[in-house]
Symmetry: C2
Subunit: 281 residues, 2 copies
């Protein structure tokens, strides 16, 4: 996220940001420290439970790019489609939903993602960048932060994380074998819809996000009674259902269900949630 302003705003240009959660806020803060930045929209007043309507976005004249985070992992908010903007390159952090649905790469100036959610072990990032955006870094940019250095050296200017690359290659093959990005999207929708249905049809669990922007990757939910949070976690653990604690900023629970989560995991969680509700609801 530092590399975007370092590479695209070195000559005093302005970068626009849509802040819809923790990750886009971090990117905005870091960019603000490094370059000239403009806040085009911000859902902080809504606790990041919403994505501001398109017609409210205040995009700068001559913005060098419009930055957004496709999926916010903490609140579970995901852009349902690529934002419709004209004449400004889109820069998208896809870390938490990359390769979980097809996307039209020609719509982006930069689309980037770290590996650890959907395509490999942590320690690797993939950057898709439009060629005319390469080579604009300032003269004092550390060489590892300069897209041109990486592009000119086929991502091997430094010794690359070879094992992580190899693993990512295996995941790419696995995704293809499973039917590609379209199949990943269908599976992601099926997984998340099953969970949202259980939540919405219950008087015990709630999720505050509008259906149109609910994340297919992270499904947060609140229990009717906060006092049951500890019991839920410990009983879940007894059923081999782990890492379900919600982020402290929103509380409750969160099921993170990336490409690697099999449907059996979703079914087991649903069974446990319904049983827990029966006993404690």
């Amino acid at each position: 996220m530092s590399m975007v302003p370092l590479n695209l705003l070195a000559n005093g240009e302005t970068g626009d940001y849509l802040v819809t959660g923790s990750w886009s806020q971090k990117a905005y803060k870091e960019a603000k420290r490094l370059a000239s930045i403009h806040l085009a929209a911000d859902s902080a007043a809504d606790k990041y439970y919403t994505i501001p309507e398109r017609n409210t976005w205040d995009i700068s004249k001559d913005a060098a790019y419009l930055y957004y985070t496709d999926n916010e992992t903490i609140t579970g908010v995901e852009y349902p489609a690529i934002p419709e903007v004209e004449g400004v390159p889109l820069v998208c952090d896809m870390t938490s939903n990359f390769l979980s649905r097809p996307f039209d790469v020609s719509r982006f100036g930069i689309a980037f993602a770290s590996a650890q959610k959907n395509f490999g072990p942590a320690g690797l990032a993939c950057v898709v960048i439009r060629e005319d955006l390469i080579g604009k870094a300032g003269p004092k940019t550390p060489f590892l932060c300069d897209f041109k250095i990486h592009a000119d050296n086929e991502s091997m200017f430094n010794t690359p994380p070879t094992f992580n690359w190899y693993m990512a290659g295996l995941i790419y093959k696995w995704i293809k074998k499973k039917g590609g990005l379209k199949a990943m999207d269908e599976l992601a929708k099926e997984r998340s819809n099953k969970l949202y249905d259980v939540i919405d049809n219950s008087g015990f669990y709630t999720n505050p996000i509008d259906k149109k922007i609910r994340s297919r990757m992270n499904v947060p939910f609140i229990l009717k009674d906060d006092e049951l949070n500890a019991a839920f976690l410990s009983e879940a653990r007894q059923n081999n259902l782990i890492e379900l604690k919600g982020h402290r900023s929103v509380g409750g629970k969160r099921a993170s269900i990336y490409n690697g989560m099999p449907m059996e995991g979703i079914n087991a969680l649903i069974e446990f949630m319904q049983d827990f509700e029966k006993r404690h609801g």
Copy 2:
């Protein structure tokens, strides 16, 4: 190597460099682009086959640090001991000989190393830093280049390369089990001395480096007749001896023999070298 000037020279201080090969030269060039730098010594005129004598080093008054590369992989030149300097923090790139011998950590301002030679899969670096050198980065330093961010967050501000960490942990345990750094040093000396003996006792192979500064990690050697280079490589490969081509800047052959190289590998190479000499010498 960018992080050193970004963190220690942000207020106009000067960093001093000893350039004794390809890696220290790269570090010097990068630092020169980013900050105020002084060349304290340089063995380019000797093709980086030497380390300039201590009494020839021109260390700046009030240098913020003295930077050197402990082992140069291309020419096979290694500092036999920690340089004797007073009143200036030593900054050392130990990438290619880290954990191959004991070192007095209190002598260093910063000692750093990438994993891929001696302690784990590529994609990880270890930085040992004196606490008073943390927190000096300039205000426009990208957060991932700021030692303070990493120190304050126990190296987990970003998602760390978890598998690589785990593997490094296994290697640390392996090193301890083998007898620790003293044992690593003894093995490294035994491996390299065996090879240098074969080279020195042959009229066919040569190594131009003075015995006092020969690397224990990388043993380059030149064949008597350049025309035999291709035959050496292809016959070596038939004997399962691979990656022996020397760097194009020095030619010849190079045996890189890091901690992970068993003595059997050295013995097999020696047997092949002596046999090749008999047949082609």
